[in-house]
């Protein structure tokens, strides 16, 4: 017959107690960790979306600026002007704030390009070159709208050296209208996304804090001040926000790099854009901190101010 050694029994008992205690601690720890992971992931997802959207908006602005800066105003010049006078005129335009670039087209160059277009030598037919020299001005994006152009046109027409000012009025209107509506759609979409995203994070954090509402209650009843109760929750929230933001930055930069590698023509990463990307990363970190800070503080406040009865009714 096997005799049970009482010491063995005690050891087994102790082992089982420690084992179960260890298990309980691990499960509690896991629960807290999993709620942290959920928060970090949702913050990261939201920040990635917002980051990519910001890149899109910035890119859209570059594209729209590019389109706008391709609008050309052509100045037909007095044929009597000498080259030096034309050069002086071009220089005076070059110092204007609204000019992006100017190009002097001599009447010979103009004739050459018209000949190529028409496919016949019209100078020979006519016996002289009827074209006049011109200056082509492309505008800065912010001046490329009908109001500014009308004002620029008036200013230019006052100059006696200029015979005529020509630009495609209809096209300027159409470009601005289209770009305006596209920007509006993107802005409304971003606004809605930001709203949904902040709501989502707010709810996730509130749910995590909701699970500890009785802990908050106990703190409250032993005479802890609101600020004292809030501090650990807010600090934990901010920590999650920062971790989420760094995760988001990594993924956003990764996505931008992949797109840039595959679609070089988009010129996603230019020298000037490095600064923009830096600002974008900073924006993601700040937003991550701000959202988690406000959400945790509001959620703790909500549960800390409720009476015990209201907590049970939740």
């Amino acid at each position: 017959m096997h005799v049970v050694n009482p010491i063995e029994v005690r050891i087994a008992l102790l082992y089982s107690i420690f084992y179960f205690r260890g298990m309980a601690d691990v499960s509690v720890r896991r629960r807290f960790q999993s709620s942290n992971i959920t928060i970090v992931i949702s913050i990261a997802l939201v920040l990635i979306m917002l980051g990519l959207l910001t890149v899109l908006i910035l890119k859209a602005k570059t594209v729209s600026d590019h389109v706008k800066e391709n609008i050309v105003i052509t100045l037909f010049l007095d044929p009597a002007l000498k080259d030096t006078e034309i050069l002086a005129l071009q220089k005076s335009i070059d110092v204007e704030p609204w000019r992006k670039a100017t190009a002097f087209v001599t009447k010979e160059e103009a004739a050459k390009s018209l000949q190529q277009e028409l496919g016949e030598d019209f100078i020979k037919t006519l016996g002289y070159n009827p074209l006049s020299s011109s200056i082509e001005i492309s505008l800065r994006a912010e001046y490329a709208n009908n109001d500014s152009i009308a004002w620029i046109e008036r200013q230019l027409r006052e100059d006696s050296r200029i015979e005529d000012v020509i630009y495609q009025k209809d096209m300027v209107g159409a470009v601005n209208e289209r770009l305006g509506s596209i920007s509006l759609v993107i802005l409304v979409f971003s606004g809605a996304l930001l709203f949904v995203a902040v709501g989502l994070i707010f709810n996730t954090i509130r749910l995590a804090i909701y699970s500890q509402r009785f802990l908050i209650r106990t703190m409250n009843l032993v005479g802890a001040t609101q600020a004292f109760i809030r501090r650990p929750f807010v600090l934990k929230g901010i920590r999650n926000g920062i971790v989420g933001a760094f995760l988001a930055i990594g993924i956003t930069v990764g996505i931008v790099l992949i797109i840039d590698k595959n679609f070089r023509e988009l010129k996603l990463i230019q020298l000037a854009d490095v600064e923009t990307l830096g600002i974008l990363c900073l924006f993601q970190i700040l937003l991550g901190i701000l959202i988690t800070w406000i959400s945790s503080a509001l959620a703790v406040r909500k549960f800390a101010l409720q009476s015990t009865d209201a907590l049970y009714m939740n």
């Binding site: 205690r21 309980a24 703190m219 009843l221 032993v222 005479g223 802890a224």
Partner: protein, 225 residues
Amino acid sequence: MSTDAIINLNKVSVFQKHNLVLSNVSFTINKGELVYLVGETGSGKSSLLKMLYVDVPLAQGEATIAGYDIAKVKRKQIPLLRRKLGIVFQDFQLLYDRSVNENLYFVLKATGWKNKKEIQDRASEVLDKVGLVTKGHKMPHELSGGEQQRVAIARALLNKPEVILADEPTGNLDPKTSEGIIRLLKEISETGTAVLIATHDRIVTELFPSRTLTCVQGEIQDSLQ
């Protein structure tokens, strides 16, 4: 009202949600008194205690506790008021994610104690008072119900309260353990702290007879009168 009065109620009405459960409640509890608040479940004992620790607002009448006028107390003052009270619950309400010592340290830190040595000394002092000086490192779930309630009482004693409000402190305990808890509360009252115990446990009130406030048909009968 005598200068020893810790709790003074004058024509107070007590509501549960919107139902009036007690009306015209007037009594005074002095320093060092042990008072039972008895009555059936739902008779308004807990609601009266909640009103005293400002968990629910005072709807009607005048009430002062530990020098605070409950009707006029501002939200920012509530933590300060609660530091003058010790609250003990039926379900202990300890923080189960930390050890007994950490539970006590937390309350001390939350109520403005800064010096680590003083915090540790005060914690072991109160644990000594409730006979648990060797159990400070344990987690609450490793203790028996009676021991957990003793920790809750130790916690209530930390800031040397003027009054202890105990809401069914023996509700979850067996008679033998209950007796120990009430004896402890009685000893505390003998050191000068007023103790108000809400209970429906007749054995308790018979073992340690003291002044009793009974909730009957929406009113309070005082055994002193």
